[in-house]
């Protein structure tokens, strides 16, 4: 494993700039993680006020993406980073796009509460919250792997998405069955399906960031790698 040493440049200012940049991504990640926790809480307690707060707070996440993007651009223009420094900045630039999209997905889920379209079925609701908890854990693991530039942790988190995907598929089948039996309107069901899809998409975004972490630390591009070969890599590590 090869970590990008942020504090070993001759220029202290450059060290500081890279450190601040990395920390800002973690701040943004922490913000989005809290958004997801609040959204799940708003669903479980049927709290439209909290969901409204999540929706408004997404503007903050958007602003963070723009600021970090601008800082990446500035550092590239002024410092001409190379090798691992360049990979770090490119990783950050891509990761923040995924984090911002996670924020958008969370906003969509929060709208389920403000529009009063929470699933009436308790079993769907609790399964949804359960997947939500798994996604939150995955998100936390992703940012942790990013912070520590830990390739092994990133691959383990990457693997968690398979479980989330299979839970999602099971819930989707169950929900489709419930649709015909329940009294909720088709419009409500569509919103619920979209929210479930959003939850699953957050897992995919985490997976993307894990791929970037592996590329950053190993220098190998693992995007579009077949699951089996990646699984082999995880098995080799664990």
């Amino acid at each position: 494993m090869h970590q990008v040493a942020l504090n070993t440049h001759i220029s202290d200012r450059f060290n500081l700039e890279l450190e601040n940049l990395r920390n800002s991504v973690l701040t943004m990640g922490g913000e989005v993680e809290q958004q997801l926790i609040d959204t799940l809480k708003a669903i479980s307690t049927n709290n439209p006020g909290l969901a409204e707060k999540v929706i408004l707070n997404d503007l903050k996440v958007n602003s963070m993406e723009m600021q970090i993007d601008e800082e990446c651009l500035r550092i590239i223009a002024k410092r001409h980073p190379t090798a691992s420094d360049l990979r770090l900045i490119m990783t950050i630039s891509k990761a923040i796009t995924d984090i911002e999209r996670m924020g958008d997905e969370i906003e969509r889920i929060a709208k389920l509460v403000t529009k009063q379209k929470i699933p009436a079925s308790e079993s769907i609701k609790s399964s949804m919250l359960q997947i939500g908890q798994q996604v939150t854990a995955m998100m936390r693991g992703t940012f942790d792997a990013f912070a520590r530039q830990d390739e092994r942790a990133a691959l383990i988190v990457y693997d968690q998405d398979n479980r989330i995907d299979s839970e999602y598929k099971k819930l989707l089948t169950f929900t489709t069955g419930e649709m015909s039996r329940s009294g909720q309107s088709m419009e409500d069901w569509l919103e619920i399906l979209w929210a479930l899809r959003s939850l699953e998409r957050i897992g995919d975004r985490c997976k993307n960031i894990c791929e970037y972490v592996v590329s950053l630390t190993s220098g190998k591009d693992v995007r579009h790698t077949k699951l089996e070969s990646l699984q082999q890599k995880i098995d080799d590590l664990t």
């Binding site: 001759i10 220029s11 202290d12 200012r13 601040n20 800002s24 701040t27 503007l59 903050k60 602003s63 963070m64 600021q67 970090i68 800082e71 651009l73 500035r74 223009a77 002024k78 410092r79 001409h80």
Partner: protein, 268 residues
């Protein structure tokens, strides 16, 4: 909204006199028949690093030389307009040039230590000013060498010849010699072009420290260096000031097409 990064963008045109180290008003310079600088107007902020960039012959070295009247040494040079430093127009004919050059230090491309000891090099200017007390000179030499990040390397051989120092050490010695006079402004004309890349980075780091105590104006051919070290950058072309703004903006979103062409290598 949460601000993740602190960034300073002074309004250079609206700088107050307290914030301004050098104010240039309608500066024109002719060297013989050649009109080298055309109506330059700019305010260089205090305690910041300002870089002057542009193609060879654009007038950037001539401009920096105006700031301590080095152009006076060239025959047939004619200067008009005002340069305000420390509240006075230094282009005035009664300007005390010795005082000016102690307030505005200059370091050139090639390290030019005098053929004497390290100690004597640093206190050369002070002795010219009539300071003879050993204690005072010792203190000034130690302080200047510390500030130029050279003290640890030479403290045990202060009375050895300066000529045996390496290129990077000699350049830092020259910086120390300028700093001993406690200048308000330090002019650096291509200070690292004769040095290796690592020594260059050390000198650039040093500049970041030095700006806390004086204003730095640097002329450089190396655009990457200007981007790395400077807070503000001025782009000159054929004797005219094309653009002067904070370096973050100039190197990411320049306002003028000429600047864009030059920094992206589309020039000419």
């Amino acid at each position: 909204m949460l601000k993740l990064f602190e960034r300073e963008r002074l309004n250079l045109e609206g700088l107050s006199p307290e914030q301004t180290a050098i104010e240039v008003r309608d500066l024109n310079l002719r060297l013989g028949q050649k009109h080298v600088l055309h109506n330059i107007n700019m305010r260089i902020p205090k305690h910041r690093i300002t870089a002057l960039i542009g193609q060879s012959g654009c007038g950037k070295s001539s401009l920096i030389a105006c700031f301590n009247r080095m152009n006076d040494l060239i025959l047939n040079s004619q200067t008009s307009g005002e340069i305000i430093i420390e509240g006075r127009n230094i282009n005035h004919k009664k300007e005390n040039l010795s005082l000016l050059r102690s307030q505005v230090g200059m370091v050139f491309q090639r390290p030019n230590p005098f053929p004497m000891s390290i100690y004597d090099n640093v206190c050369y200017g002070l002795r010219l000013q009539g300071i003879k007390q050993r204690r005072q000179l010792d203190d000034a030499v130690e302080r200047a060498l510390h500030e130029a990040a050279l003290w640890e390397e030479v403290k045990d051989r202060l009375f050895d010849s300066a000529m045996i120092l390496s290129g990077g050490q000699q350049q830092r010695l020259v910086i120390a010699r300028a700093l001993a006079l406690n200048p308000a402004i330090l002019l650096l004309d291509e200070p690292t072009s004769a040095l290796d890349p690592l020594t260059t980075l050390f000198i650039e780091e040093l500049m970041g420290e030095l700006k806390k105590r004086c204003t730095i104006v640097i002329v450089t051919h190396n655009m990457q260096q200007a981007a790395r070290v400077s807070d503000y950058t001025a782009f000159l072309h054929q004797g005219e000031l094309i653009e002067f703004s904070d370096s973050d903006t100039l190197f990411t979103m320049p306002d003028k097409k000429q600047t864009e062409d030059y920094i992206t290598g589309r020039y000419g």
